[in-house]
């Protein structure tokens, strides 16, 4: 009993970033009830920044702990993932307009973020299922906020139908794996796969893993199942697109990486077929969105395609989890900053609606030099041009993939070529910023809060290039 209490106390202490956000969600919802929206926003910033700084402190002291009989853990993997997830949510708050703040957006966003933090620290399939569902339910409501936009409802319906399909597939995969193993914790699944009794049940395990992968591929927008993402990112309010394309998507990617390096790490030796399946998934996810993005006419839609392409680069990690896993943390953090700040600039120049034509970018360098510079830096980082952090992330990821063998070399080559193609559409946007435009009715929502976040993100994207090793994952304990 005493030991359990000690365990609980430690759990409360080391999960304080998670509990802070949970409490924050309650406090902010009460404050918004009394129509003190500015106070609510300041409170949410305080909770988010506290939670971020506590996470960085835990990273500094290097925590590695398991709680409640190996069901949840705080380690290097979960802490770095927390940083990437919280950063996306902070930028989402920074880009939020007044009309959204006056609804239930803030508490729901904090709740969804808290559940996302829990996703990366669970070590049990059932808890993973519940945590993912908790993080996705508020997201349905968040997408549906902007009712006067005609794209909004279609975005919600697509998101909901695909989300429900993901839930179903995950539940069925969970049921099949539970039937074969008899338990759902990662350590028991791993020891079952290592033992000799797996031979009778290997088909069950493979079927279960494929169902889980299909479900999480919907969340992390891998290609055959990415169709919802394009419309949803365009149709949802821009500040929610920030949240969906960073926190929500990274939750899916992290959970795929988590189950592949912990529970199913020995399955690659028994059944090489899984590796080829994941390689095909990564290959298609790299090629298709990069080609489709070349013909877009809408900034939000283009950024959505680019985010799907980045999910493809990150899914290279799934093909060779043991060799390239450490890079994923650095890649996710740089992607999170660059993608969210590019959506933030989109919000600044074309508002929350789905209508954001390329023409809005014209003569941006003259009208709003800071936003133009930030957009340029963010896009160059996403494209992987040297002085910025995105270059270092792509360089390390492709290099480590290429060193794994023939399959890795081929995948890295395709990734490199597709990365080269992507420079075309990023450079096209940057070129538009310089061209003088004739229409004078472009309105830019300037505020100093956004300015501060843009300056911070430029500095972060330059500095992070030189310190990738601080954000390397260690393998998760389980």
């Amino acid at each position: 009993m005493i030991e359990n209490y000690q365990d609980f106390q430690n759990f409360m202490y080391y999960f304080s970033p998670f509990f802070l956000l949970l409490v924050g969600s309650l406090v902010v919802s009460v404050v918004s009830l009394f129509k003190r929206f500015l106070a609510a926003k300041i409170l949410s910033y305080i909770f988010l920044l506290f939670s971020l700084s506590i996470t960085i402190y835990f990273m500094y002291v290097n925590v590695n702990l398991l709680f409640f009989g190996n069901l949840v853990a705080v380690d290097n993997f979960s802490l770095i993932s927390w940083i990437a997830l919280i950063l996306g949510a902070i930028f989402s708050f920074a880009s939020m307009g007044d009309d959204l703040i006056q609804k239930e957006t803030q508490p729901l966003l904090l709740l969804s973020l808290a559940a996302s933090l829990f996703v990366v620290s669970v070590r049990d399939l059932l808890l993973l299922f519940l945590a993912i569902e908790t993080s996705v339910f508020p997201a349905y409501v968040l997408v549906a906020q902007f009712k006067r936009d005609y794209f909004s409802l279609e975005a919600t319906v697509k998101f909901f139908v695909f989300g429900v399909l993901a839930t179903l597939l995950f539940a069925y995969g969970l049921a099949v794996i539970y039937g074969a193993v008899g338990a759902t914790s990662f350590s028991s699944i791993n020891s079952f796969i290592s033992s000799s009794s797996v031979n009778n049940y290997v088909n069950f395990i493979i079927l279960g893993l494929i169902l889980l992968l299909a479900s999480l591929a919907i969340k992390s927008t891998l290609v055959p199942l990415h169709v919802w993402a394009i419309d949803t990112y365009q149709g949802s309010p821009t500040s929610i697109s920030v949240f969906l394309s960073t926190t929500s998507k990274l939750t899916g990617l992290f959970s795929v990486a988590l189950i592949l390096v912990t529970a199913f790490r020995n399955l690659f030796d028994i059944e090489p077929f899984i590796r080829y399946l994941l390689a095909i998934l990564a290959l298609v996810t790299m090629i298709l969105p990069n080609v489709a993005a070349l013909v877009q006419k809408n900034i939000k839609r283009l950024l959505a395609y680019s985010s799907v392409a980045h999910a493809g680069y990150m899914s290279l990690v799934f093909v060779f989890p043991l060799e390239t896993f450490p890079i994923l943390g650095f890649y996710a953090v740089t992607y999170s900053i660059a993608k969210s700040v590019s959506f933030l600039v989109t919000k600044r120049i074309s508002g929350e609606g789905s209508d954001s034509p390329y023409n809005n970018l014209m003569s941006l360098f003259k009208l709003d030099p800071l936003a133009a510079t930030t957009f340029t830096v963010a896009l160059l980082s996403l494209a992987g041009i040297p002085p910025f952090a995105g270059f270092m992330a792509k360089f390390l990821l492709f290099l480590n993939t290429a060193f794994t063998g023939n399959l890795g070399l081929a995948l890295a080559l395709v990734a490199l070529i597709m990365s080269g193609i992507s420079v075309y559409y990023y450079a096209y946007l940057i070129r538009l910023e310089v061209i003088e435009s004739n229409n004078e009715n472009i309105s830019i929502f300037k505020n100093s809060e956004m300015d501060a976040f843009m300056i911070i993100s430029i500095i972060a994207l330059v500095i992070l290039t030189f310190f990738p090793s601080y954000l390397y994952y260690q393998f998760p304990i389980f």
Partner: protein, 101 residues
């Protein structure tokens, strides 16, 4: 062996549900299809719970909770669709959107 027969008997139910989600246009029908497929999942978990550990019963109850939440949210979205477009047909929405723009 009996468990395997039960699983094979349940599988068509799941496939019917997934087909319904992908092929139907009426939003309420999609939600009903979800319920059908989810009941297949619950039956599968129940079958496994009889042959392995009793932990499966807990799992089944939690899955029921999740699906109840999902149905509630789906009906809320359906009401919103009906208010905005006077229709709960998914393809109809797309057409209406193109007309209004």
């Amino acid at each position: 062996m009996n468990a395997l027969i039960a699983l094979i008997a349940v599988l068509p139910l799941f496939l019917i549900g997934v087909y319904g989600i992908l092929a139907r246009r009426h939003f309420i029908r999609i939600i009903i299809s979800v319920e059908i497929a989810m009941s297949a999942v619950i039956l599968t978990i129940g079958t496994f719970a009889t042959v392995t550990s009793s932990f499966g019963e807990v799992l089944g109850v939690l899955v029921i909770i999740i699906i109840a939440l999902e149905a509630a949210l789906g009906l809320a979205i359906a009401i919103e669709m009906d208010r905005t477009y006077k229709s709960v047909d998914i393809l109809e929405i797309r057409k209406l959107k193109e007309e209004t723009q």
